[in-house]
């Protein structure tokens, strides 16, 4: 656990001293604000933050891989992975440390958007439940996307490859529910269930469904398990 925190702290520091942190933050803040403004500017505006919660799925599909791409790929490229793997640290501690750091980065993206929520509370009387559950949903969703990104980053020493692979997997998993109308019976249900976006909808409506939380947790655990395995396989190659 201590090793995990040491690695997480180091990665977090590295992330926040790089310009990347602020660029990603600014991009997300701008996009969220745009979605928010358009969603509350209609004829019958609704005082919710759903306007930017749902599009966040798509934005995170692109931004999460950017956050995670360097985490393991760079270690492989610099040769520092050899150093980590010959230090008295277990492989899963390395992966968990990196994952925690990426969670911190992701949550930092949400901080500027609190401004939007504050504006809403100031000028309207929104229902607080859906706001909180919306944020909770984004965090769960973000967790899943980061785990895919981290896995992709473990595959090679190339950050671009890591980002592209992760975006590919995430896009496929986000739109797989579109295919339900073309496949029969059992597959319809499977496709709906493994789509990472469908599980966010109830959060956005204000429903915290354990079934959705469990989905994201299992999905993330599974991807992190694959990442540990992928790291381990470097020892045997």
């Amino acid at each position: 656990m201590k090793n995990t925190l040491v690695i997480a702290w180091k990665e977090t520091r590295t992330y926040f001293v790089s310009p990347m942190a602020y660029i990603v933050m600014a991009v997300y803040a701008a996009l969220a604000a745009y979605y928010f403004v358009t969603s509350i500017s209609g004829v019958l505006p609704e005082a919710t933050i759903r306007g930017y919660i749902l599009p966040t799925t798509f934005i995170f599909t692109l931004l999460s891989p950017i956050i995670t791409m360097r985490l393991l790929a760079e270690e492989q490229k610099l040769g520092t992975l050899e150093l980590l793997m010959t230090s008295p640290v277990r492989d899963y501690e390395i992966v968990m440390g990196k994952f925690l750091a990426s969670m911190t980065s992701l949550i930092s993206l949400l901080v500027p958007t609190a401004y939007l929520a504050i504006v809403l509370v100031w000028f309207a009387s929104p229902d607080m439940g859906p706001m909180l559950s919306g944020y909770l949903g984004i965090i769960f969703f973000g967790m899943a996307t980061l785990s895919v990104g981290l896995f992709a980053s473990s595959l090679s020493g190339n950050q671009i490859v890591a980002a592209v692979v992760a975006m590919g997997i995430l896009l496929l998993l986000s739109i797989i529910d579109l295919a339900t109308s073309y496949v029969g019976s059992i597959f319809t249900e499977i496709f709906l269930q493994i789509s990472i976006t469908t599980h966010l909808e109830s959060f956005a409506r204000g429903v915290i469904d354990t079934h959705d939380m469990v989905f994201y947790l299992i999905f993330t655990t599974f991807m992190l398990f694959l990442t540990v395995r992928s790291l381990e396989s470097r020892r045997w190659r």
Binding site: L78, L81, E82, T86, V89
Partner: protein, 321 residues
């Protein structure tokens, strides 16, 4: 644990490592005692890096066993990793950190507490002479200083065993000398294994040498003994004016001559004669030439340099030593 000078710190027994079907190291066995500096010598792709990676627990061996400070590298990998300091071939540095931050991070990973880290960081910065660079970003340091930072991290946690893969590669000559002296100073306290393909380095730094070629040990000995033993075959170069075929066969007939090769230079042949150990055949050769009425133009005993020994061991006759 008893810290007598003969405590074995590294015990390698029949280590074999395959990459797929390719044997990188085969049946390697050796022991290194506490405080010893062992040189690992071999051409590129001889299996040096592979062996070191197995020793550090980065890769498991295909078969055989390796014990570091009494711990098995496979079953007690974490314990082993606590006892070693490792400098891989490509110095592993986080370029966006400064020297002190980097060392502090490495110290934390090795479970050193705050006081110990603070004390050791200032120690190793002194030992590796990095005082002026303690808050420089590693990315901005030159190759030689990066190497020193690499060494600093390897010795930070006062490991009993130090494993260094080509520690002097790619740095300028003055720094090479400094680095060698630094490593030499680690002997006695640390047990050191270093790999290199530079021969003089071995005789300067190491107390014992393992010559490895195509994954197999060709020789293990002290550098001076090695030279002595290989000088076992001595060479004499003579220039003789005379009929080539006859001269060749006559020279071969002298007892003690192992091999004769000839390089032509018009009517004078340059003969390269290898003799068995200790046999001084200069007189016999000059007598022979005199008896047959040929002309002896030059006669010169030749000593083998370490380079030649190395080449002979690894190229011409692997397995005969």
């Amino acid at each position: 644990m008893q810290d007598t000078p003969t405590t074995p710190m590294i015990e390698v027994d029949n280590l074999t490592k395959y990459y797929g079907d390719f044997p990188a190291v085969e049946n390697l066995s050796f022991t290194v005692n506490k405080g010893e500096i062992l040189g690992f010598l071999g051409p590129n792709a001889a299996g040096k890096t592979t062996t070191m990676r197995v020793l550090t627990g980065f890769m498991p061996p295909t078969s055989g066993s390796v014990k570091i400070a009494g711990f098995d590298v496979v079953d007690q990998s974490l314990e082993v990793r606590r006892h070693i300091g490792y400098l891989p071939e490509t110095v592993p540095l986080y370029t966006e950190m400064n020297v002190t931050e980097y060392l502090d991070f490495m110290g934390q990973l090795r479970g050193m507490d705050k006081q110990w880290r603070r004390r050791r960081i200032s120690d190793v910065i002194g030992i590796c002479r990095l005082e002026e660079y303690r808050s420089s970003f590693i990315g901005k340091l030159s190759k030689g200083f990066r190497q020193r930072v690499g060494i600093a991290q390897a010795i930070l946690h006062e490991p009993e065993v130090l494993i260094m893969d080509e520690p002097t590669i790619g740095i300028d000559p003055i720094q090479v000398v400094e680095t060698r002296n630094l490593i030499k100073g680690f002997g006695g306290e640390h047990t050191v294994i270093l790999s290199t393909h530079i021969l003089p380095e071995v005789s300067m730094v190491c107390e014992r040498v393992i010559i490895i070629h195509e994954g197999q040990v060709v020789a293990i000995d002290r550098p001076d003994n090695l030279a002595e033993r290989l000088r076992g075959t001595e060479r004499i170069e003579v220039d003789i004016r005379g009929p080539a075929a006859q001269v060749m066969s006559a020279l071969r007939d002298i007892p003690g001559v192992q091999e004769v090769t000839r390089t032509d230079r018009e009517d004078v042949g340059i003969y390269n004669i290898e003799t068995t150990s200790g046999a001084d055949l200069r007189e016999q050769i000059s007598n022979l030439v005199h008896e047959r009425g040929w002309g002896l133009l030059r006669l010169q005993p030749i000593q083998m340099s370490l380079e030649e020994i190395f080449l002979r061991l690894t190229v011409t006759e692997p397995g005969t030593v």
